[in-house]
Symmetry: C2
């Protein structure tokens, strides 16, 4: 195998542009197809940016003739017009280097001609990603992460990094992974909730995009035990203002021109959903219960909205909609109740049909009331002592939300299973690769 | 306490700009100082963007007079010229709302007039962040994270999210946190090494900025058990090219005009080091050993560079420099040895004096040699079976590095202790707040 030289990257393009006609070009990537017609071998080489054709003849033919598809190659030569119906230009190869062989049979076919089950594809994820369809999901993730950060920064949010190793169960104790941390019990954080609330006490508006952990025993298509969350929190900000920011995040994503935003990454094919009308519907929880009753559902004010109920609501309202003003007792201790009717709270979820994408609201900033709320929810205030003391340092009214990023990708690309949207998903049955 | 209304944010400014003279303005923040001179109270209100003065008289005076410093307030009124030497403009308050009290005595003084030990400051981090000096470190983190991502994206890197819960010890087994994952043993990842190498097999160039975990029992000023790492990996890329990218990341950071890049966040005061000359020195390991010998150090080719040795080198070379071509046996199994002298490898570290900021190199892409290297380093290839199989799918030559982001902040701001650079540090003794 040859050593790498610096010229690889410099001249490297899998998009042979028209301006290159008659010039030298080098392509690096993986053999997608190889047609040996005797004195000439036609070769298509793919990488994440696209696919190019090369024509090999003369001495180089012996190097390439017996090579397996998906082997890594570098090919140089002059660019010429192509007679192929798929390519207008091609490289007439005079330099062919095999960087590494692909050993067949391969566990899956990344060209997509032979379909494989999702589990098999995840088992061989690195190879699965050579499929443009799979790659486009993860290219979309990359583009959206940046787009979301840009929207948040333009709204004055500062990026922070909070600990994922925590000393006490910060939002109740259910479903936490526990481990021994230098002889002390510790847990993996299931959200940055307490930290982001603390930080607005000085940094005003903060956001974090990071992985969190829930020991979910469920086998649903929308839960994982490790997931990426976009979290924001803002001081001096009401529920409606924080909903506006969620809406702006979504609006900016949906107005992305993905076909041009990151080269020729086929991102435009990935966003499959129609653009909703903004502002989105903000349905009250009580309105939702009324709607469900009209559909014959057996539900009363105060009941949680089951997955079945949310599916019915999703049928009525379609696409994206907010459910606001949930019963206080259905929401976590840190959500603030309404002054005029404490049975209900300044809380909201963003739904995409039955799928909950965002959950948030205005927070309880009164330290005494916060302590009472912990007790009401059968939580031990002693476990929250590091958190509660912060509220006596001039805690302003504040609001925030958490967005399940993997679920957002599911929604935007019409995927049925969250495992399609995550490179290396983790669930009750899967810990590898 | 009042409900929040939407006007808070809209009119909210702690920088009273000259154009506001004679107009209404609202400021929200925390009382820094309060001078009661009888019929008038002078008040300074700070938030992360700056500090403003308000003059309160009339009825509002009774609301504010006895309030403690660091209480959260909102103040509205007309902007007028100020006679104060610190402010050219001030608000003549006609509306004063106390959002929440600060209960005294406070555990630390965030104005910095009374200094507190670092441990005490971390115990009360949310309050400590009201100090502009502390806040500036974390504002710098936010700005640099974005700047690094921009540099990487402009070099064709795609952002990925790899799992932090892993099923086998991926880089040896030392210093991993272990826990029970649905009745199976699992570990917290100490780097994305195996995943980022796998992903370049299709995505070509990837980066990730995320938290990783090492069960470090050390008590040094530069190790934490949870740390933020910037990781990149690139196919068809040599060690020198990947070093060039590290250099470009650093150059772009050091050419940031921080005083304008994120409002008036005093970021310019944070970058304390002089700008180095680019390109940075690339010293060979062998050259370093020669230098150390000349200084009377007891060291031979093949020995690791101890912290003491690195301190001596840091004295000779100052600031940033690379050490390249380390002995193969001192580097992890995935580093590629040189063809012409396999005792040495395509590996490098970026030093800032004695502090190692980046470690990287070209990787071993030959699957057979990689397996041999595992055995040479007393690792069990069976634990790497999910990883090794990927190398038979046409793995190209590739290179990458990992940057300790918290250490970079330490270096750039001349901090002595990494705990200053992390919001909620985690070490052998600290698991809270």
């Amino acid at each position: 195998m040859p050593a790498i030289d610096n010229t690889y990257r410099t001249h490297y393009t899998n998009q042979i542009e028209s301006g290159l006609l008659g010039q030298r070009a080098t392509i690096a990537g993986w053999i997608e197809d190889l047609r040996d017609i005797g004195k000439v071998v036609f070769l298509t080489v793919r990488d994440v940016r696209g696919v190019a054709q090369a024509v090999v003849s003369g001495q180089s033919i012996e190097i390439i003739r017996d090579k397996q598809r998906q082997s890594a190659v570098i090919i140089s030569g002059l660019v010429q017009d192509s007679k192929s119906k798929d390519f207008s230009l091609e490289i007439k190869a005079d330099r062919v280097i095999i960087l590494n062989d692909a050993t067949h049979p391969l566990p899956i076919d990344p060209t997509g001609r032979v379909e494989s089950a999702l589990d098999k594809r995840i088992d061989s994820r690195a190879l699965d990603l050579r499929s443009p369809k799979t790659a486009s999901i993860f290219l979309l993730r990359s583009v959206l992460l940046e787009n979301i950060r840009t929207t948040l920064r333009s709204n004055g949010f500062i990026e922070v990094n909070t600990p994922k190793i925590i000393g006490s169960a910060s939002e109740g104790g259910a479903n936490l992974f526990e481990f021994e941390y230098f002889k002390k019990p510790a847990y993996l954080a299931q959200s940055p909730q307490v930290y982001k609330e603390q930080l607005i006490l000085a940094l005003d508006r903060v956001f974090e995009i990071a992985s969190y952990y829930r020991a979910e025993k469920s086998h649903t298509a929308r839960h994982l035990s490790e997931f990426l969350s976009v979290d924001i929190e803002a001081a001096f900000t009401s529920m409606n203002e924080i909903i506006n920011i969620a809406e702006q995040v979504l609006m900016n994503i949906l107005s992305l021109n993905l076909s041009t935003s990151e080269g020729d990454m086929n991102g435009s094919k990935t966003l499959l959903i129609p653009k909703p009308r903004f502002p989105l519907k903000r349905l009250s929880y009580q309105q939702c219960v009324e709607d469900l009753k009209k559909q014959g559902e057996n539900i009363e004010i105060g009941d949680d909205l089951s997955d079945a109920s949310l599916r019915v609501l999703g049928e009525i309202h379609k696409g994206f909609f907010f459910i606001v003003d949930w019963p206080t007792k259905l929401k976590p201790f840190y959500i603030r109740e309404k002054e005029n009717d404490p049975r209900f709270s300044y809380s909201f979820d963003l739904q995409y049909g039955h799928l909950e994408l965002i959950s948030g609201g205005q927070r309880q900033h009164d330290p005494n009331r916060l302590k009472e709320r912990l007790i009401e929810q059968n939580l031990n205030p002693d476990n929250f002592k590091h958190h509660l003391r912060v509220f006596s340092w001039g805690m302003p009214p504040h609001s925030g939300w958490g967005l399940g990023f993997d679920r957002l990708i599911m929604a935007l690309t019409n995927l049925d299973n969250i495992r399609e949207a995550v490179l290396y998903p983790r669930d009750v049955d899967r810990l590898t690769p």
